[in-house]
């Protein structure tokens, strides 16, 4: 079947993945190779990077230029900010976030990884697992990315040696046993030459596993969302001011967890009132059920006072409701996290303020040990804190639900986003 015939196309699943790993390990080159070998590059795009590579006197067509699109990135030969790229095969549609390896731009790696279902972690076969590899792998696991694929890259520079692959694999497995990841796979590749990226390598007969592309196309992603705990953060209220819909009132939002159906008994927080769902409007009209991540609007049987930031859930399965919350924070700003400092926060559709009550520990990303004697959380540090919020949040542990377990910290003066928090 033609991969773009509408039936096939509209039926595809979506996989969002991110790259991770240290600077120069070959992430952008790999993405370029994946796009090129899967024939997802247009002639004018290829021609443009060919000319640029030639002008710069590079030996090869530099495939990293497909994602390193900013002037500053091209000048320095590194990735600074996430680039998003898209491609489809007959099986799946992919959204790629190619992120920077440089420690200075960790915030952009976190940005790209926060919405991914899968992380490709690259290692340079000559260097093995280094601190930045561990930091990225740890961040990916904290972000709850369920699948990890470690690509041991630049195998061409180590004579495609199986021993090198096995040694790095072991090195990473030791580290990863302390991480919370369901699924890790290892592939020896050369992003530059395309070995085991889309096509099977002829240089590594000792490797019997799948190519990266095969893995991306087949990895099971169906069950990554929480379909058990019903959570609907109200985004806004729809009240038409026209005569045809006089008493119409619906609560719009994106389902953050679970499955909702008309007739369901629901509880609204913070009020605690219960009522039933009258109807659910999807983008194409009424639906019989709605589940994460659909955007819908919900009408209720009773007129209640509900506004943005409120949460619709079940009476016997509510989120936690509290002003005192423990968070694992990944800090992304040069200004250090201040004990007793006040910050704006965003959590689901709720805005609040918080004060930092306690810094418990910081994490050594190499050993994953807790550092108890240095509690300064600065840029790129990860640590556990306790916060108290101005109003209660309705949350779940991040591990149970990425949507209701995540929070961001915002500077009250500059409005910059300073940190990413995962509720524990």
């Amino acid at each position: 079947m033609n991969k773009f015939s509408s039936n096939g196309y509209l039926d595809m699943e979506l996989l969002r993945f991110t790259t991770a790993g240290s600077v120069d390990d070959g992430k952008s080159t790999l993405i370029g190779r994946l796009l090129y070998d899967s024939k997802s590059i247009f002639e004018d795009q290829y021609e443009a990077i060919r000319l640029t590579s030639e002008r710069r006197g590079e030996e090869y067509v530099n495939l990293a230029l497909l994602t390193d699109g900013l002037k500053a990135e091209r000048e320095q030969g590194i990735t600074i900010d996430v680039a998003y790229r898209y491609f489809a095969t007959p099986k799946r549609k992919f959204i790629i976030a190619d992120t920077p390896g440089h420690i200075q731009y960790t915030r952009n790696m976190v940005t790209g990884a926060s919405t991914a279902n899968l992380a490709i972690i690259l290692v340079d076969a000559r260097k093995g697992v280094i601190e930045q590899t561990r930091r990225h792998a740890f961040i990916a696991s904290l972000l709850g990315i369920p699948h990890m694929v470690m690509c041991i890259n630049k195998m061409d520079l180590v004579d495609y040696d199986e021993a090198v692959f096995e040694q790095i694999k072991k090195q990473f497995q030791t580290f990863a046993s302390k991480l919370n990841v369901k699924d890790i796979q290892f592939i020896p590749i050369s992003a530059l030459n395309g070995d085991n990226v889309v096509d099977k390598s002829v240089n590594m007969n000792w490797y019997g596993g799948p190519t990266l592309m095969y893995l991306l196309e087949t990895i099971h992603i169906g069950s990554d969302l929480n379909l058990v705990d019903c959570r609907f953060p109200v985004q806004l209220v729809i009240r038409p001011h026209n005569n045809d819909f006089h008493d119409y009132r619906a609560y719009a939002g994106r389902i953050a967890g679970g499955i909702f159906k008309p007739g369901d008994k629901v509880m609204v927080l913070p009020s605690g009132f219960t009522t039933h769902i009258k109807s659910i409007e999807g983008p194409d009209g009424p639906v019989k059920e709605a589940f994460a991540p659909m955007s819908v609007s919900i009408r209720l049987e009773d007129e209640l006072d509900i506004s943005r930031g409120d949460m619709i859930s079940r009476e016997n399965n509510k989120p936690e409701v509290s002003q005192d919350i423990d968070v694992m924070v990944c800090w992304m700003n040069a200004k250090k996290l201040q004990l007793n400092g006040k910050y704006s926060i965003k959590h689901t559709t709720r805005d609040a303020r918080c004060v930092i009550k306690k810094i418990h520990y910081k994490i050594n990303v190499n050993t994953l040990h807790r550092i108890q004697d240095d509690k300064e959380i600065g840029i790129n540090d990860i640590g556990r804190i306790s916060i108290r919020t101005t109003q209660p949040l309705f949350f779940d542990k991040y591990q149970l639900n990425r949507n209701t377990g995540s929070v961001i910290f915002i500077d009250e003066a500059t409005h910059e986003t300073l940190g990413a928090g995962m509720i524990i």
């Binding site: 699943e13 489809a88 169906g222």
Partner: protein, 301 residues
């Protein structure tokens, strides 16, 4: 068993619905940039669904270069009437008359770059604090770096090296007076997604997207449609060709593509087989390697 797996087009739609609603929730005076091209048509279609049965809670802003295809203006006015939308027009001609910008000269003169000033002036005049645009990350390498919520300083500038981190679906739209945001609800859509969605939703499209006969001139591989804005150079001539447009912008810089595609299905087939990007026919991107980034820094769409 029922599968609780949203297919990708519906997931993209759900994401866009969420982003558009978030704009209305977070900003005081948002506006939707409507160019009459397929992306802004799809964005508007989704925006309409986002608030249905209520009307659109924001106006549309069209930056009129004065070099529009007449078909675009007609389509715009019909759509505005059908949706009972409010339309605000920012005129590049007025910006020129007021001395805010100077018309470019030379054979490749275009008003494309001038639009930025008119856009920023219109935002300021009406006090718009967020402008939703139909830009997609797959269009161009600088666009590939955009956030959904893209902060602009008081001069309307984008600082690509210093973008705010954007985590999960928690969009930070906080800003100072005088600053504004550009928001791109279709960030994750590809050209193919847009057409598949148009087919699925049966959205009427401007005739320019379908194959038709038109007089064009071939200027260094770019087919420019005959209009009062294109002056023939030596050795150039108008030729009748069967073409359609893959993107619709200013008449002075939007190139046509030879095509027989006269239905959405045929357009989809053509897009699937295309070996050139849609912007490959845009003269404005060919000015330099970083033409898009440079324009975006200044506050372009």
């Amino acid at each position: 068993m029922q599968s609780y797996n949203l297919k990708h087009i519906k997931e993209l739609e759900a994401e866009s619905l969420f982003v558009i609603r978030e704009v209305v929730a977070q900003f005081e005076k948002p506006v939707l940039l409507f160019s009459g091209g397929k992306d802004s048509i799809v964005m508007l279609h989704i925006a309409y669904k986002a608030f249905y049965p209520a009307g659109l809670p924001f106006p549309l802003l069209h930056i009129d270069t004065g070099h529009n295809f007449p078909e675009t203006l007609q389509y715009r006015d019909e759509l505005v009437a059908r949706l009972k939308a409010r339309l605000v027009v920012g005129s590049v001609q007025e910006s020129i008359n007021n001395g805010r910008v100077a018309e470019e000269i030379g054979i490749n003169a275009s008003r494309n770059v001038l639009q930025t000033v008119t856009l920023l002036d219109a935002m300021e005049e009406h006090g718009f604090d967020a402008a939703m645009g139909g830009g997609r990350r797959d269009e161009e390498k600088a666009r590939a770096k955009e956030r959904f919520f893209s902060h602009r300083d008081e001069f309307g500038q984008w600082d690509p090296k210093n973008q705010r981190p954007e985590l999960w679906n928690l969009f930070n739209g906080k800003k100072y007076q005088g600053e504004h945001f550009r928001v791109f609800p279709l960030s994750n859509w590809t050209e193919m997604d847009v057409w598949q969605y148009i087919l699925l939703e049966n959205i009427p499209m401007p005739s320019l997207y379908f194959s038709h006969y038109r007089e064009c001139v071939n200027r260094k591989g770019v087919l420019l449609a005959r209009s009062e804005f294109i002056k023939l150079q030596k050795d150039e001539k108008w030729e009748k060709m069967k073409i359609r447009f893959r993107t619709i912008g200013d008449m002075s810089c939007t190139g046509a593509a030879l095509s027989d595609a006269s239905s959405i299905e045929e357009i989809i087939e053509e897009v699937a087989a295309a070996r050139q990007t849609e912007r490959g026919t845009r003269a404005d991107d060919k000015r330099s390697e970083t033409a898009m980034e440079d324009r975006k820094r200044e506050g372009y769409f």
